[in-house]
């Protein structure tokens, strides 16, 4: 093999490594389409996308926290808390009147952003390690969710026409142009987040802070403020997810969202974002969420047992991280100049 061939081979290998999440997703889609006849129907793909949107929205919020060198373990609890705030407000009567759905949604999102703000303050102003700070708020948010109803479920959130409280179910159950509203939310949030990450000064600051916090600080970036905003955004995304779930079920349960944070982190990691910060993308997390979601729904359709589903999900995550390490090594071995040259060759 000549030098040229070898570098071209390496470049192809690297490209495949970089596109691994997309490749895995394509393989899964093809495999499930063959194995289960009703998998590749518009209706099923719509439902699949709706299921994915829950984890994807959480993962997009999580991506910013991780890109900036942090992590947000509280998202699952915040989702549960947001649902309970909404459920409580929809159930309560103030002076014989119901609270408007718009205000309910606003309050739930405000509380979620508030928890995000608390995370951000703990991390950026007091200097608590993100893992610890958000672990603490994980418990605080979950405990508060339980306290709101004294552990009970808020049922019948669909409301009645007579009390003027209907409309909450729109969030999780309605369709726009034949596509479920949660899927639109995922698309809009992903597009906005991706644009922010790639095309705004703030986005570049997030990467800079995660890549080298000290250098970012010396370059004049307001590191604390950048971190604060990433946690607020993550809290907002978590709150939205809580609202979607409560709206879909028309009930709010305080244990909703347990271990969602792990699924979100898994999606982010599958998408190639480094847990060390500074490297990764929103698009990757979206694809990661789809990999996990397609795997989960496909295995259910095939009738695979729950226990195997858990093992398979774990295997995919371990595999993804292993490949991530291989990619880092290959990249390190290839000189940047040669890399550019060989990518150009592949493109031709």
């Amino acid at each position: 093999m000549s030098d040229g061939n070898r570098s071209r081979f390496a470049a192809v290998a690297l490209l495949l490594l970089k596109l691994r999440a997309v490749l895995v997703l394509l393989i899964l889609l093809v495999a499930f389409s063959i194995l289960t006849p009703s998998f590749l129907t518009a209706n099923n793909l719509s439902i699949l996308a709706k299921h994915v949107s829950i984890n994807a929205i959480l993962a997009i919020g999580m991506t910013f926290a991780i890109l900036a060198g942090g992590i947000d373990l509280s998202v699952g609890s915040v989702a549960g808390l947001a649902g309970m705030v909404a459920g409580g407000l929809l159930t309560v009567r103030i002076g014989g009147h119901t609270v408007g759905v718009v205000w309910v949604v606003f309050a739930a999102l405000l509380v979620s952003c508030g928890v995000g703000l608390l995370n951000g303050l703990l991390v950026s102003r007091i200097g608590v390690a993100p893992f610890i700070a958000t672990l603490g708020t994980l418990y605080i948010a979950r405990g508060t969710a339980l306290l709101i109803s004294n552990g009970k479920t808020f049922p019948n959130l669909g409301g009645t026409a007579t009390s003027g409280s209907t409309g909450f179910s729109v969030i999780g159950q309605s369709f726009v142009l034949g596509v479920p509203l949660p899927v639109w939310m995922m698309i809009v949030i992903a597009a906005l987040a991706s644009a922010i990450a790639l095309r705004t000064p703030f986005g570049r600051h997030v990467y800079a802070v995660g890549g080298n916090e000290r250098a970012a600080r010396l370059a004049g970036i307001r590191v604390g403020r950048v971190k604060l905003l990433t946690y607020c955004f993550s809290g907002f995304c978590a709150g939205l997810v809580g609202l979607i779930i409560a709206s879909q079920l028309e009930s709010a349960h305080p244990a909703t969202g347990e271990s969602f944070e792990l699924n979100a982190i898994a999606a982010v990691v599958l998408g190639g974002t480094s847990l060390m910060g500074g490297r990764g993308s929103v698009r990757g997390s979206l694809i990661g969420a789809f990999v996990i979601g397609v795997l989960a729904d496909g295995l259910v359709m095939m009738g695979v047992s729950e226990f195997w589903q858990i093992v398979i999900k774990g295997l995919v995550i371990v595999l993804a991280v292993t490949v991530d390490q291989v990619q880092t090594k290959v990249e390190a071995r290839m000189a940047p100049a040669a890399l550019g040259e060989s990518i150009a060759k592949v493109a031709v």
Binding site: S38, F39, Q248, D297
Partner: protein
């Protein structure tokens, strides 16, 4: 400052000592589940009525946490422990330790794989309840010739009650010639998980006419999924008799459920404990199995929060 705090502490301790009522410790799996909440509340209410002090804790299905809570009950000189335990085998040592410390242990809702340690084990008949529900499910799915497809939502598969219920279901359903099961998935007792798994199952199997769930929470998740898919005429049954499920049965969204007499069982446990302390005997055998009630649209009005209205 420190002296003031010490004085306060002594004062507190003094108050404590003056409360001469004996302590009944109630430990249940969780307080965010209507069933366990009803059972804990019922035990606490009856014990207070009979003149005891009560403390309620939750072990979150964690045997280690249960261990610590039992130690705390021993340390605070509880005379009675009402326990919905965290595992048929994993709980035995903690219960034995409590019994050795002189606490009368009364197990409710779940048995342990040992006898002679607890004063009583009062449980609802999960097998009988599951058979009741399954028989009604089979009857309602009797089609006009041909097989009717159904799906099953199983509870957390490591949980004894999940296993007993699915076995009870299948003891009936497998013998029913007009039924065929096309999907069985665990939804881990969770409504949100039942919702998304049912949506997916309905995609894979378009002819499903019924869904049988190991508890009411999952059944309600299935109700939401069926509603969201715009489907009609799918029979959904559950287990537990939760207030939300009873409401769904009244509204015609669910077919039936098996009501576990949680309130009755808690009250029996406290009454027997009281009898034991006063007379030296519970007057009952150790293992007491209480049958479940079938809640249908016709009798749904008679049931409220895990008990039959008087």
């Amino acid at each position: 400052m420190r002296r003031a705090a010490l004085a306060g502490l002594l004062l507190l301790a003094g108050c404590h000592a003056r409360d001469s009522r004996k302590l009944v410790a109630v430990i249940v799996p969780s307080q965010d589940n209507p069933f366990f909440k009803a059972e804990a509340d019922a035990a606490a209410a009856r014990a207070i009525e009979l003149g005891y002090r009560v403390r309620v804790d939750a072990h979150e299905d964690d045997a280690y946490r249960q261990d610590n809570l039992v130690d705390a009950a021993i340390a605070s000189n509880a005379v009675v422990l009402i326990l919905d335990n965290a595992g048929a085998d994993a709980s035995i040592s903690a219960i034995r330790r409590a019994a050795k410390a002189g606490i009368a242990v009364f197990l409710i809702d779940r048995e342990i794989n040992a006898t002679g340690i607890a004063k009583a084990q009062i449980v609802s008949d999960n097998d009988q309840g599951a058979r009741l529900v399954a028989a009604e499910f089979a009857r309602s799915m009797r089609g006009v010739g041909g097989k009717s497809e159904f799906a099953e939502l199983i509870g957390r598969e490591s949980d004894t009650n999940a296993q007993v219920r699915t076995k009870g279901f299948h003891a009936v359903l497998d013998q029913t010639p007009w039924l065929t099961m096309v999907a069985a998935q665990s939804a881990n007792w969770s409504q949100a998980e039942a919702f998304s798994k049912t949506e997916t199952i309905l995609q894979a199997h378009g002819n499903i006419r019924g869904i049988i769930a190991g508890n009411d929470t999952m059944a309600l998740g299935a109700v939401a999924a069926v509603k969201s898919a715009g489907l009609k005429g799918i029979e959904i049954v559950g287990f537990d008799g939760s207030p939300d499920a009873v409401a769904a049965i009244k509204a015609g969204e669910m077919e039936v459920t098996a009501l576990q007499p949680a309130v009755l069982i808690s009250q029996m446990a406290v009454d027997e404990a009281d009898a034991l302390l006063k007379t030296g005997s519970t007057g009952k055998p150790e293992v007491q199995v209480i049958p479940c009630d079938l809640v249908t649209k016709a009798n749904a009005g008679e049931y409220l929060n895990f008990e039959k209205k008087q």
